[in-house]
Symmetry: C4
């Protein structure tokens, strides 16, 4: 079948979110893109994780949003995912969770400053928060508009989504992404962990400051970009 590999990859990413403790009930979804085929594969809506199979994963056209494979209804957050794939061409995996600490920041409408090198290893700067959606943006096309305020935040802030692979949606919860669904899951894990440490740190030090630029650059760039020297050399 044409989309078997992508569906398997997206199933694994969804299960990895659960294994990482980022999912409560069915709140959480992961998707992946096949740019050549012009499609994404995404979790079905409201299906429990322990029964999910690769065949339940739904495949849709990036351009039209129409289902091209799969019998179920795609995640209700699909319009958000589609908008991110359309506007962020470097992104081939997107995940959404209601993970405890990142969601707490989203509810408090605060960015997560970069307080240490753990954060800096995966995010080249603070994790931004969107503006509130207006009443009319909530009432019609809510999920699409969620994608739009994310893209708006990155455009207006001049932020490259390849360097800051995640965001908090105000009053809602985080989205994270990456060049693959697996990397998107990893970024969601780091986002949650950075949020947890930021919360705890702000409790003991109200004057907590972000790390200086030279330390931020060092940590992000030793793992990303042409001068990376972390991990095993590529074969």
């Amino acid at each position: 079948m044409p989309y078997d590999k992508l569906k398997e990859q997206v199933l694994k990413a969804n299960l990895a979110l659960v294994d990482a403790g980022l999912v409560v009930l069915t709140w959480g979804n992961a998707s992946g893109a096949d740019r050549e085929a012009g499609v994404i594969a995404i979790k079905p809506s409201g299906v429990s994780y322990d029964k999910m199979k690769a065949d339940d994963i739904v495949v849709l056209s990036i351009k039209t949003g129409e289902v091209v494979d799969g019998a179920g209804r795609p995640s209700s957050d699909t319009p958000t995912h589609l908008h991110l794939y359309r506007e962020f061409p470097s992104v081939n995996g997107v995940v959404h969770t209601h993970s405890l600490n990142a969601t707490t920041f989203a509810q408090a409408k605060r960015t997560i400053p970069c307080f240490g090198t753990t954060h800096a290893d995966n995010f080249h700067g603070e994790i931004p928060i969107t503006r509130d959606l207006r009443s009319d943006e909530v009432e019609a096309d809510y999920e699409l508009n969620t994608g739009r305020v994310i893209v708006e935040r990155f455009r207006q802030g001049g932020i490259d989504p390849a360097n800051v692979p995640g965001v908090l949606v105000a009053s809602h919860a985080p989205f994270a992404w990456g060049p693959t669904p697996q990397k998107a899951v990893e970024n969601a894990i780091v986002l949650e962990f950075a949020a947890q440490m930021a919360l705890a740190g702000m409790a003991i030090a109200s004057d907590l400051k972000p790390i200086p630029k030279h330390l931020l650059d060092k940590h992000f760039l030793r793992k990303h970009g042409p001068a990376a020297y972390y991990g095993q050399p590529k074969a």
Copy 2:
């Protein structure tokens, strides 16, 4: 046997509370109603979860409160459950836990404001807290009076228990409910998770505000009521 299915369902709901990490020691109980038969089934008192079987579940008449099936003594909280089934006709499942964060709010005698969409997905507004029981209400018929102050809180506040499926009993702990025992367990999980995020959020932002009505309505109503579009279509 006439009540086998109900007892099995109630056993599963009790074990699901444990799996969800909401139970310490034997503090926690779930019940379910069969409205046609006019009975509820409930956990026996002080029996450990790892030994509990469907046959240990006790069945009682909703009207008279008399045991109609089962050899053990029902949960000491049975009069609270019975009162909720009598006064809230839309409710067919009730659970009680001492889950950490919800109980912390109950001990602090604070409502849990709706700070985000996670809360709004299952609770259409803040989770209320009862008034303190008076000394005489504690001394005689304590468990029945616990049910009475819950119902009083919903009546006086004009709150529909189908829209706000849970409550905090002051100085004590939460109760949650739903159209089935399984849904009651889910609501208890959301109540605990919302409490945990509210606690953490209030620690970093003393001026935390509830979400606006249009966002509250959107999230609750996309999952509940005639216009719901979340999950797979009913067969």
Copy 3:
């Protein structure tokens, strides 16, 4: 062998502490008394839990403190346990842990007020804290003196150890006890859980008040004493 049953019971209590998440590394020990035989059985010192067997449990005379059975060295906290058994005749099980939240209270030198019914179910009032040990009490007979300041606290406060089955040792950690080793473990679990909720509650409500006496009495006495009605009737 004469002490096989007691040693088995004490082994189980030690392993139950680990299962309950109250133990870090080897910090934790449980003991049990056989009053007729005039002995206690206690965990050996510094032995890892996954290798511990009933035969490693050490048996000592309550009166003389001499080892009467077992090849290893008893827990270094044995003098504390022995003193509690000598001075608190209703106690037949003692446990000591460094559980996170109770130890945090011990380090902050604060009692744990009774903020709710969860606490009141097992502790008939606040959980007291000892005074600091003096320098000379630390230098010689430190572990025995730890037992002495516990007993001093209960005597001076007029507290019955059967009603308040636990204490915080200042700058150190909690001890809990009960009529059996199993009940002592249960009380250690409740002490830790009450401490965790008290910590969280104090974070959101600096004016948190203990529950009134009628509610405290109701919860403790429905589980303990002649009028108890919780659990299954005794056969």
Copy 4:
């Protein structure tokens, strides 16, 4: 093979870090020294824990830093480990983690005061924090300079690394060590636990004070040094 035993020991230490919950993703590494052979063995860079085998462990000369055994690239933190082995001759095991609470202290640039006997059992005083690295120290030889600021902190503070077997690197995370890799892991566990209790204690008591010297000495010295009486006697 000459280094098989050391590599097996270092593999076990790395896996023990994961079992203790101190590792997120691949952030964490343990090493061990064979002083007679003049080598250390260390985790390979960016290899996932569930696939790691003893043969993946990389062996390097302490003096030259050159790889003498193993096909992969050693952990990117290797220059830090090597520097500690060169400057702290009593150390034969080093571990580095991004454990939640210790890292939170590192990000807040605070030492961890000794608030109780749990801390005092393994650390003879507060756990120090390094100064910030200067911009030029970050840009070139960053990992070696990390080792240098650690050693500088101990030299300038007159602290014996055998008595205080761990440190926080400012804005980064903790390092811990010991006479064996296994002991280094144990010290990393205690460091994290002490940090967690310190964080929680500072939240309820802003005036929290370190324990007095006589209690600090008692706890550290009953476990360490010539007069130790904790654990089973050495055979």
